[in-house]
Amino acid sequence: MNLTVILRKKMGQLFSLDTWLPTELPEYATGFMYTLGSLTASSFVMLLLSGIVMAANGPQWWTISQIGFFVRGVHFWSVQAFFFFMVMHLLRVFFSGAWRGGRQRTWLLGTLALLIAVPTAFTGYLMRGDFYSQWNAVQAKDGLNALGLAWFNPLNAGQMYGLHVIVFPFVLGYIIAVHIAMVRIKGVVPPYPTHEELEEQGVLTTTDKKEGYHVSSGR
């Protein structure tokens, strides 16, 4: 077992031009429904950009500066956009059954992104330094303590700041990158076959039109 060889193979695919810069896509994979994932990714980019500007100026910049207040607003609305597009995207891929054809791990990584996005947003709410932060911190502590997660101390602003500006975004960014790479490597999931196609493939023997595009379960 040569670890370098294994890594070369994996990385070669993960970082290839074909993965990241495709020049053609399946013709069914166009239109607004297929833009939702990109809109989610773009919202994440806006979060990173506005977040970097705020981090560079220190945690209380927005209280003393008009520009700071504006950038903080961009960050706030980007969070709303991020979750909005992510949930719309989730619905799109769910209704497409987009885990078919060996794409389960792409779905799993997507849900993981949603799962990590929740504490990322939560630690952000704790950084506002207003009543909403105070209230969220003291309310969340009981649940966290009860779940055995007391190590995560929402009352410790220093710990929350570090988690919010580096640890969670890093993990989330990594998950998103691999998620998108996997979508590209597997190709977006093709449409459900129609009745006609299923008959051709010999899956459906009956011409019972009521069955529509469905394959009876068990087959």
Binding site: N156, V203, V215
Partner: protein, 314 residues
């Protein structure tokens, strides 16, 4: 059973695309959208509750909070792990098992220590503290109980807490002193002293405020747990963390809301629901559900129209 071969169609063509242009345009759209929203609506801000402000506006409430910390009957004094050995807020065995990670002993940390700092400036406080320290624990308890009982008849006039006469020992003087520390604006600093030189942690000042002070302010804004509080932004028309809607809904189930382990149960069942979503591709009926729901006919409408017009019925 899962059938990769029959579940995907094989007849489709590739069309040329500009992926970079696509990503740039979605980013420009989101950038314009969020900048416009920020410029027009800004972001909601509701000023934090400060201890000095609370001590000035609600002096008797402040003293009541401090007495709970002193006599060990307050919420944090009796909380339990991860703060101390209390039992009041222990919801399950995991919490006990994790143990005391962030030690907080309100009698010392919230009352006696701040008074000690203040005694350097005000020698009167020093004499109260000396008298309190020298008394037996039983005597201390009696003073505290007497003072607590008298508090419901107390008035606040010209900066002083006026009590009916009684045997409070030094406790009355100590509480008057602590109220002054609170009103001065020095209390937050006295509470949040870290063993290191730099201060990054506001745990104790938040724990001091966490009971009545924050709860009263929150219930006016409908932010409490049983008011769907998790998903309310503090300024009504603004969107809050609505992605927590399902967890918040679980909190409203009476059986869970009234349980002593409410948080553990609500968050635990939210997590179980989420696991269903996560593992949907492997869960038998769930993984075939979208096919039967038929929304995909809308998603791939153009495709089905083009190639399967005959078969395509909405």
């Amino acid at each position: 059973m899962y059938h990769p071969d029959v579940d995907v169609t094989h007849r489709y063509k590739y069309a040329s695309a500009d992926f970079v242009k696509h990503l740039l345009s979605t980013t420009v759209i989101v950038a314009i959208l969020t900048m416009a929203l920020s410029a027009i609506f800004h972001e909601p801000v509701r000023p934090a509750i400060k201890i000095n402000q609370y001590a000035n506006q609600h002096p008797l409430e402040f003293v009541r909070v401090a007495m709970g910390d002193l006599d060990g009957k307050g919420e944090i004094a009796d909380y339990g792990p991860p703060y101390n050995h209390g039992t009041g807020m222990v919801q399950d065995f995991v919490q006990k098992w994790i143990g005391i990670l962030h030690p907080v002993y309100p009698r010392e940390d919230f009352v006696l220590k701040p008074l000690q700092y203040a005694s350097v400036i005000n020698p009167k406080i020093k004499s109260y503290l000396n008298r309190f320290d020298k008394a037996s624990p039983v005597q201390q308890k009696i003073w505290e109980a007497n003072y607590n009982r008298a508090l419901s008849h107390a008035r606040y006039e010209g900066g002083a807490i006026i009590l009916p006469s009684g045997s409070y020992g030094p406790v009355a003087g100590m509480m008057q002193g602590l109220l002054q520390v609170g009103q001065s604006g020095l209390m937050t600093g006295a509470l949040d002293r870290s063993p290191a030189d730099y201060q990054f942690d506001n745990q104790n000042s938040l724990l001091f405020l966490q009971g009545k002070p924050l709860h009263n302010a929150a219930s006016k804004l409908e932010l409490k747990g049983d008011q769907w509080g998790i998903i309310h932004e503090e300024d009504a028309p603004y969107p809050g963390p609505w992605w927590m809607t399902i967890v918040t809904a679980i909190y409203q189930i009476p059986f869970i809301a009234h349980a002593s382990a409410a948080d553990a149960m609500a968050l635990g069942s939210g997590m179980i629901l989420f696991l269903f979503l996560m593992f949907a591709p492997w869960i038998p009926i769930l993984n075939r559900l979208p096919r039967y729901l038929g929304v995909h006919r809308l998603i791939w409408r153009e495709y089905y129209k083009k190639y399967h017009a005959k078969d395509f019925t909405m």
